[in-house]
């Protein structure tokens, strides 16, 4: 079961919880599961079926560049955090 850490500004959609343990094989599956447990979380994290550009996902300490397709292991830690701004966005 992967542990998902919920950032402070998303906890209002997660009943105030800072983490939750979920079963998932990929980040995409994990977000689906997260949304089932805390409805609305998928909209917080995703837009048009992809991770929002302002959000980054770290799996086991490493920011992933493949978003929803990133593999999640049984013992994985998954963090959602702000993407680094100041780059190519504008």
């Amino acid at each position: 079961m992967a542990t998902v850490y919920i950032p402070p500004t998303m906890r209002d959609t997660a009943d105030g919880n800072d983490k939750v343990v979920l079963q998932a094989g990929t980040v995409g599956q994990l977000i689906t599961e997260l949304d089932r447990v805390y409805p609305g979380m998928a909209d917080r994290i995703c837009q048009d079926g992809r991770i929002r550009s302002e959000i980054a996902v770290a799996v086991d300490g490493e920011i992933t560049d493949i978003g929803m397709l990133a593999t999640v292991q049984e013992s994985s830690e998954v963090h959602f955090l702000p993407a680094i701004e100041g780059g190519s966005g504008l």
Binding site: D12, S53, G86
Partner: protein, 753 residues
């Protein structure tokens, strides 16, 4: 420490592009030429904030020699919100377009209003003067705190405050508010024996690249668009130009020119879409080059900031809580890197309880862009200054204090994400044992300061192809614009795999039609990620060459081994080919061999730096001289140590400028009053001592040769280290950058502000 022996990695060959660059033959953005070339100039807003009531271009269009005029109405309307663009993160295209050229409002002094193309630059400038613009001047706001206040002038009418995917719906100049938190700071501060708190401000500073933005664009009669530009990311230019012009991505080809500095500031597009439209109007290639004033007034500086930091410690020096409030001025559009600043500022330390509020705030200044570790130098300035104050109060050695609290592998950052393999502790050991740290100051009015800094570094996407030449050399093609010697650093990684000398690999930086997608040269990613790509492409060559040797030996490829540039038949070691010998027999064994790789590498190694600075402050003039500077950095494994040292020295120098002199000085009308290099005071070689560097090599296990990104970390610690040194010299802490002479005299009570 790195102990692996390599043939090429860690050596110092002359860079492949060195001869062209020192003899002036290398072609930069300004060196483009065409037989029927026209020249374009931009009319810019004289006001910091104004409604554009009307623009009359008729006289300019009729001016002899003028071949075209555009305003914001000539750019496509792209709809609100973000757009998914496939290759790069989704972007707010309409905001990007509006920054390139204003629509209904001018949002900062220097905002592009119209552009003219003519047969000469001078004629274009004459025609600009004939464009009549009616403005209604609006109240402007330049300071983040004033902009955050209720009743502040509204900069973007539809701007609301968002927070990680949630839109509050409240209209505000606060574009984002992000909270970071681990542990329980109320408990942490309650457990503290001492609590220190201070406010800090920093001014916007510019990346200060020597080469202004310059591009030449041809919109051909078949609607193919070719762009020659000096930008850090040709693929980003392709994407964003296609997006802003609403044309197919495939119709745009970007040919990267050599780049005369970027530091993050040459990632956005400013000129290319405008020059393209003017080329379409005129039917000619169009060249557009900014002046230094335009660069300063209208291209991204780094955000100015207002920060509050608070740290709680035990009497034994253990940090038990940290808190910060960051408000960064994004300019006229969102995106100040305040989040990155927040995520880096406490990272050198293992702290259980941290809370940070980070605000991205609009002001009537140019839209900021990245600048080496965007956001991190400001945050480090606040935290590292406060730590200096704590060390003095506790009478603790500042390096011992940092070692006591040092972050290491597994330490949770403020995001909760644990650090991977890092060399923070090893670096601090090197600092503690260094000659500089243990040397006397050597004179009156001198002070010493130290500070640490952190940056994530990046991976992203890179592509590479390598082709084997019959003489045993290898041609290398990547899409990474060369900054700081990245041709050499990536070619060396291919050479190491192939058992060749660095100069046997011939690197070329290709246009966007000639190589797979490659992300920007930025984020300290190129030697790491494009190096990964050349490493993988070289291994692809080895695999194919083994098959060729196997054909000649009438055996299976699994029977062929490759080591140190030599193919050997495992079942009969007397049979062997050197790489060069086998390269000469490719045509008879199946034709050319081309290796390729496309990578999105994991294993990015984060980086720490630590700087020691000695300054001497003249008590009569307030002028600060940096008399000794040593920069330590965990570089993983230095692929080419000279270029790693160069990156560190350059970053340190930019920190000196930021700390002591550089600032955007605005008058009451919101107009930058120092928009030239005469008045915007960057350090020159005459201002600087030798910047000594110490490369601490704790290999990154995520890279085949242990490399970490090195280009951004060296700008992070300098602001605080210099501030701490000045404080040590004059006995008074300034909490405002730059520490220019007037501010120092004011702090000393010699003058009134």
């Amino acid at each position: 420490m790195a102990t692996t022996d390599y043939r090429v990695i860690g050596t110092r060959p002359i860079r492949h592009d060195g001869t062209d660059k020192v003899t002036g033959r290398a072609k930069y953005g300004g060196d483009t030429a065409a037989s029927d070339l026209l020249y374009a100039k931009i009319l810019r807003s004289p006001h910091a904030h104004a409604k554009i009531l009307s623009i009359d271009t008729s006289k300019a269009a009729a001016h002899p020699g003028v071949r075209g005029v555009i305003t914001g109405k000539d750019l496509p309307e792209l709809g609100a919100g973000t757009i998914e663009v496939g290759e790069t993160p989704s972007v707010n295209a309409m905001q990007m377009s509006t920054n390139v050229m204003a629509r209904d409002k001018a949002l900062y002094k220097g905002h592009a209003i119209a552009a003219v193309v003519a047969t000469s630059v001078h004629i274009a400038e004459e025609a600009l003067a004939e464009i009549e613009v009616q403005y209604e001047v609006l109240p402007h706001v330049m300071d983040v705190r004033e902009s955050m206040a209720d009743g502040a002038p509204t900069i973007l009418e539809q701007q609301t405050t968002t927070s990680l995917g949630k839109d509050t719906g409240k209209k505000s100049n606060i574009a984002t508010h992000t909270v970071f938190e681990i542990g329980d700071t109320s408990k942490g501060f309650a457990d503290a024996d001492l609590v220190f708190e201070r406010e800090f401000t920093t001014s916007p500073t510019h990346q200060g690249y020597i080469e202004p933005q310059s591009a030449m664009v041809l919109w051909n009669t078949d609607d193919d668009i070719t762009i020659w530009t000096s930008n850090q990311g040709p693929f980003g230019v392709r994407t964003n130009t296609a997006l802003l012009l609403d044309v197919p991505l495939s119709s745009v080809k970007v040919i990267p020119m050599e780049i005369g500095g970027g530091f993050g500031g040459k990632i956005p597009v400013y000129l290319e879409p405008l020059a393209a439209l003017l080329s379409k109007q005129s039917g000619h290639p169009v060249k557009m080059t900014l002046t230094r004033t335009e660069v300063l007034e209208a291209t991204g500086p780094t955000p100015g900031s207002y920060m509050k930091a608070k740290i709680g410690v035990k009497n034994d020096g253990t940090i038990v809580a940290g808190e910060a409030y960051l408000a960064f001025a994004a300019g006229a559009f969102p995106g100040s890197a305040v989040g990155a600043g927040a995520m880096c500022m406490f990272t050198p330390y293992e702290i259980e309880n941290i809370h940070i509020d980070a605000y991205d705030v609009l002001v009537n200044k140019p839209k900021v862009s990245a600048y080496r570790a965007p956001g991190a130098p400001q945050g480090a300035y606040a935290v590292e200054s406060l730590i200096d104050e704590i060390c003095a109060s506790l009478n603790m050695d500042p390096v011992e204090f940092r070692m006591k609290n040092a972050a290491k592998q597994g330490t949770r950052q403020v995001t909760g994400v644990p650090l991977g393999n890092v060399g923070n502790v090893e670096m601090l050991e090197a600092v503690k044992n260094s000659d500089h740290y243990n040397a006397p100051l050597g004179g009156p009015n001198r002070g010493r300061g130290v500070a640490s800094g952190f940056w994530f570094n990046a991976g992203m996407q890179s592509s590479a192809t390598l082709q084997v030449n019959p003489d045993g050399t290898v041609g290398q093609v990547t899409g990474s614009v060369d900054i700081g010697g990245t041709r050499a650093a990536t070619a060396m990684q291919a050479a190491e795999v192939l058992g060749l000398d660095a100069h046997d690999v011939k690197p070329v930086v290709a246009d966007t039609n000639s190589i797979g997608y490659t992300a920007v040269t930025g984020g300290s990613r190129t030697a790491f990620a494009t190096g990964w790509a050349t490493y993988e492409a070289a291994n692809d060559i080895v695999r194919q060459m083994k098959e060729r040797a196997a054909k000649l030996w009438e055996t299976d490829a699994s029977d062929v081994e490759f080591d140190e540039g030599k193919f050997t038949r495992a079942s009969n070691p007397e049979q062997e080919f050197t790489f060069k010998a086998l390269a000469g027999r490719l045509m008879e064994t199946g034709g050319p061999v081309v290796g390729k790789a496309e990578v999105t590498p994991p294993g990015v190694g984060a980086g720490f730096g630590h700087h020691i600075v000695d300054v001497e402050v003249d008590p009569e003039t307030g002028k600060t001289d940096v008399v000794r500077y040593t920069a330590f950095q965990d570089v993983g494994k230095a692929i080419h140590p000279s270029y790693v040292e160069g990156q560190i020295q350059g970053g340190a120098v930019q920190g000196i400028g930021w700390a002591l002199n550089e600032e955007y000085y605005y008058n009451d009308s919101g107009v930058m009053a120092n928009s030239s290099f005469l008045d915007y005071r960057m350090p020159t070689s005459l201002d600087l001592p030798m910047i000594d560097t110490v490369l601490v090599e704790v290999p990154n296990p995520g890279h085949p040769y242990g490399a970490r990104g090195v280009g951004e970390v060296p700008l992070v610690p300098g602001l605080a280290a210099i501030s701490n040194a000045v404080n040590n010299a004059i006995g008074t802490r300034l909490s405002q950058l730059p520490m220019k002479p007037g501010n120092i005299l004011e702090a000393l009570g010699e003058i009134e502000g």
